[in-house]
C-alpha cells in the first residue's frame, strides 16, 4: 500500500507540476504526455515490486 500510495502521489503531483502551459515549442519534458509517462513508470515499478511474498 505504501508503494501504491507513493506511485499515485507521484502521478498526482506530476500531473499538477506539468499541467501548466510552456512557451517552448520543443520542451525537454512535454506537459502533453506527462500523465501517460508518469503512469508508465509507476506501473512498471508496481509490476517490478508486485511479486508475492512467501
Amino acid at each position: 500500500m505504501k508503494l501504491l500510495g507513493s506511485m499515485l502521489l507521484l502521478i498526482g503531483l506530476g500531473s499538477v507540476a506539468f499541467a501548466q502551459e510552456q512557451d517552448v515549442p520543443a520542451p525537454e519534458i512535454s506537459p502533453a504526455t506527462a500523465v501517460t509517462a508518469v503512469c508508465m513508470i509507476s506501473g512498471a515499478v508496481l509490476v517490478m515490486r508486485g511479486r508475492r511474498k512467501k
Binding site: 507521484l10 501517460t36 509490476v47
Partner: protein
Amino acid sequence: MSVGAPRQASSFSFTLERFSVFSRLLTLAIIFAVELLVISVAADGAELAHRGSLLRFLAAWGPWILRGIVGFAALFVTFGYLKSKPTFDAISERLATVPIGRGLLAAHVAAMVLVGALTLALYKSGISGVQVDLIAGCWLVAGIAAIAFAAFAAVPLALWVQMVRGTGYLWLYTSTAVVAACVVGNSSRLLWRPMSRLTFSMVEGLLRLVATGVTANPAKMIIGTAKFRVEIADQCSGFEGAGLILAFGVVWLCLFRKECRFPQALLLVPAGVAVMYLLNAVRIAALILIGSAGAREIAEGGFHSQAGWIAFNVVALGFSVAARRMPYFTLNPQRAKPTESVTSDNPTVAYLVPFLTILGAGMIAGALSGSFEWLYPLRFFAAAGVLWMFRAKYSSLDWRVGWLGPAIGMGVFLLWIAIDRLTGAPAANAMPKVLAASSAVARITWISFRVLAAGVTVPIAEELAFRGYLLRRLISQDFESVPFSRFTWLSLLVSSVLFGALHGSLWFAGIVAGLLYAFAMIRRGRIGEAVAAHATTNVLLAAYVLLYSQWHLW
C-alpha cells in the same frame, strides 16, 4: 464501506456519514479541484493582473501558492498515514458517527456563489484602483471562507486539531519541504543558462561525430545543419529530466531503504541524473538529425514531445533494475524468471503489462510520427501479443457477459458525446489530411487496426489494469483474493479518477466512464462485464467518428 474494513461485503447503498477520513479528504479534494477548474476557466489571471495591485500579487504568486497547498496536502496526508496510522484510524472511527456538516456545506456553496459574483464584478469595465482592490480582497476572503467551510463540513475542527497533534511536527516538516521545493524550483532557473551552454557543447560534439556541415552559433544558441536548425532554449537545458530522476531516485531510496546497500546505493542518484542529462543532449542531436534527414514533421511533431519522457522512463527503469538486481547496490538481489514462473509469482504482471505495453507502444509510435500517428497498429499488435502471452492466466477469469455491460457501454457512449458537445467540441471535423490523402488500402488498413484496438485490445488491457488490478489492489495487497464484486469508495474513486486523467480534455467523461465500468463489474462480480461495457462504448465511438466525421474524438 471504508478502507479500514475491507473484509465486509460492499453495497451501493451508503450514506456520506460512513465515509472514513480518507474518503472525506478525497471528496474534499475532488470538490476543490472541480471548483478551481471552473474558476480558472472563468477568470484569466494574466488578463486581470494589470487592473490592481492585489490582483497583480495573486497573478504572480497564485500558481506557487496553489502548488504549495497541493504539495502540502498530498505529502501531509501520505506521510501522516504512513507514520501515524493509529491517529488516522482513530479519526476515521470518530467520523463514522459524525455526519457531514450540512449547514457548513450550505455556507460553502453560498461562499462559492459569492466568489462567482465577485469574479464577474472584476471583469466589469469602469472600475479601477481602490474599487478593484476592494473587490479582489472580498474575493480572496470569500474564497478562503469557502475552503474553510468545506473543510470543517467534511471533518470537524476538533478532528483537524487531533490530526495535526497526532502527527507531531509533520506539519512543520511538510511546510518546510514544500516551501524549500518552491524556492529551489524557482531559483533553479539561474542554472538554466550555464546548463544549456553545456548541453549546447555536448550536442555540437555529438553532431560532429555523425554529421557533416554542422553549423553552431553559441551566441544565439542555434545549432544544426544546413537543412535543419534548432535553438536550444534555457528550458531545454536538461534540467527538467535531471530533476525528475533526482526526485525519483530519492523517493526510491527512501521507500526501499531496507533493501538498499548504503552508501553504495547513493551512487545511483548522481549516475541517473548524469545519464538523463546526457540523454537530453542525445535527444536534441537526434532531433536535428531526423529533421536534417527530411523528416522535419516527425522531428518537430511526435519526437520532441515523446523523446524526453521515453528517456526518463528508460533511466528510471534502469535505476530500479540496478537497485533491485545488482548485488553492489542491494542487500537482496532479485533474479529474472521465465514467463510462467513470473505470472504465478507475480500476479501484477498479467494485469498491468498489457496496459503498459499499449502506453509504451503509443510513446514509441508517437515519437516516430509527425502530425499523424501512422504507426498506431503497433499499439494493437503489441497489446495483442502480450494478451496472447498471458492467455493461460486470463482463462481463470470470468469473461461471461450479460445485458448490463453493453447497456452501460451504450450509456457511457451517449454521455461521452454529450460532454464532448457541452465542452465546445466542433460540429464536425474531417479525417486528418495525411490519412485522407493516402491510398485506399493504407486508409482502410489504418482504420481497421484503429477500430480493432478500440474494440478489443484497449478495453481488455484497460479493464484489467484499472478495474481488475487497481480497484482491488487499493483494497488489499493480495488483490487476487478480492472478489470482483467488492469495492471501497476510496478504491472506486481513485481508480476512476486515474482512469479519467488519462483521457486528456475529456477527463471528466473518463472519470464517469470509469465509475460506470466499475459498477458493471461490481454488480455482476465479473471482469467480462466491465470489458463488454468498455468495448461497447469504444465501438460506438468508432462508428460515430467514422459516420459523422468526429475525428477529434480519436
